[in-house]
């Protein structure tokens, strides 16, 4: 009777403390960075009082405006293109009889996830340098949009495909039985059911594009500063809490989009 039946069989000693330590390790540095964005002193290390002034000076800064505009142009375009491509690809790879080359196509879609970012970065740089040198082609900021689209596609693809695989096929069959044309069945049945997956995928594509530093830094031409590049330029100067303010804005955007994507996925699971 006194034997260990009374204890939770799932429990392992010390695991709770390690989990809590992990959370603290992950959050404390970022929280400190956020708190110092409110520091009224001009040093990033000594606390002097609370102010929102650094957000003001960041938001009024013209360089920041340019960087924010570039970032939005690139990530919104990359998100739209990659989400459309990923949606079509997910349908073309789930609502079909297995075709020869399906496995290879799946690998190609996921390739950007397997290649280390720095390799993608130098490869894309070499590619654009080559077409600029040979054909005189330079798409300007389009270079960055295309580079971002490539690595956004697999991120958008994953939740859309998962949604398509979870979906109840009987509804689509019922529509077909009731003489819906394939296009009508898609438009009236599949697409509405797919919307949460598409939104979740678009949110992820937006975050990875919005946050990208490595590929953008190597591929960006003069004047194509994005927000992460702007932060990098600021690090190399004497720092003020303005950099904390901009970093905090970036983090909040990430948190917003992750939470949106997460909540949509959760609702689907219920």
């Amino acid at each position: 009777m006194a034997e260990p039946r009374a204890i939770d069989i799932k429990d392992q000693p010390g695991f709770r403390s390690i989990a809590i330590i992990c959370l603290l390790v992950l959050y404390v540095p970022v929280l400190i960075l956020m708190i110092f964005s409110l520091n009224s002193g001009s040093l990033v290390t000594h606390w002097e009082g609370v102010t929102l002034g650094w957000y003001g000076s960041a938001l009024l800064n013209e360089e920041f405006h340019n960087a924010a505009r570039n970032t939005l142009i690139i990530s919104v375009s990359a998100t739209i293109i990659s989400t459309i491509c990923a949606t079509l690809a997910a349908i073309g790879m789930t609502r079909v009889k297995p075709w020869r080359g399906l496995a290879a196509a799946f690998m190609v879609i996921n390739l950007p996830l397997m290649v280390p970012e720095i390799i993608t970065a130098v490869a894309t740089l070499s590619f654009f340098a080559l077409i600029a040198g040979t054909f005189g082609l330079n798409f300007g900021i389009g270079n960055l949009i295309l580079a971002h689209t490539v690595f956004c596609i697999p991120f958008a693809y994953m939740p859309i495909r998962a949604r398509l695989e979870d979906m109840d096929l009987t509804l689509e069959y019922a529509a077909a039985d009731l003489y819906a044309t394939p296009w009508n069945a898609f438009k009236r049945i599949t697409l509405p059911l797919l919307v949460p997956g598409i939104m979740s995928g678009a949110a992820l594509a937006f975050i990875v594009s919005f946050d990208d530093f490595t590929i953008t830094q190597l591929v960006a031409g003069p004047g194509q500063t994005t927000l992460p590049l702007y932060i990098w330029n600021q690090i190399r100067r004497p720092m003020t809490p303005e950099i904390n303010a901009i970093s905090t804005i970036l983090l909040l955007v990430s948190i917003l989009f992750v939470s949106v994507s997460f909540l949509i996925a959760r609702r689907r699971a219920k």
Binding site: I21, M93, K97, G133
Partner: protein, 315 residues
Amino acid sequence: MTTATLSPATLSKAAFFEAQAVKAGARRNRLLSLPALIIIGIFGVLPLLIICVYSFLVAAPYGGVQWQFSTDAYLNFLFQRDIFDDTLQFTPDFLIIYLRSFLFAVVTTVICLLLGFPTAYFMATRPPAQRNWWVLLITIPFWSNLLVRTLAIMFIIRDEGLINNALLALGVIDKPITMLYTNFAIQLGLLYAFLPFMVLPLYSSLEKLDFRLIEAAYDLYATRRQVLWRVIIPLSKPGIIAGCLLVFIPALGAYVTPLILGGGVHLMIGDLIAQQFGSGRNWPLGCAQALILMAAVLVALFFYVRNTSGKVQHG
């Protein structure tokens, strides 16, 4: 008439035509994957082939390449040509950076596993409502800006950072300990960056754990430690392998972390490659270095595929 249309032969004919129509539709559907495949093919795969070609060319003086075949990029990886007598001399500088990066990546993977496994297990054993919160809390850093997160570490370990200030105030030390721009800083940054990459795959594997097996083990007089090592860990092997891979590959090719926390003094492979395209102005060498890194990644992926497919065969 009606009986004729409903005869088995007609029905099977109808079924046949329907199947044909579905097949035709399905064949058309597969074309839908073309836009994605074309974009990744042109702007993702083709660039990789271009750097393969570039690695066998000669560097142009101001960056870029000259179209002239040469294996110098690969030779330069291990040797340096003597300026006076044109002999090749073994220079292990690049090799050392590769080994250092490998070591960093291994240590990162091991420590992330040691911290991540208990965390993931703890998450998986929470009640469902709590579990969602934990997953969200780990997911947020997973997707947060790596540059900003690395910056957060930099603020803490600087000479005037929080750690040194606290230690100075407590009188433990009388002058700041230099942590920034050291190997320690890079290692810490890598751990911080990739910990969520370990926890999430481990969690999704542990979440599916059948706890009746643990109960059975206890019924058979297993101790807590035996349950952990002989039941839980073997059952979560796919998650462990996936997590290790998700940490090891990006850690090996890390660029941002050593750039900011190593201060350009302590290089990793990623910075070395980027340098050849920047101040180094030796694109072929950079391409060769990138391909050698790619080869290392492919070896890691190969082990992954072999391990996981072996798993399937055993049932």
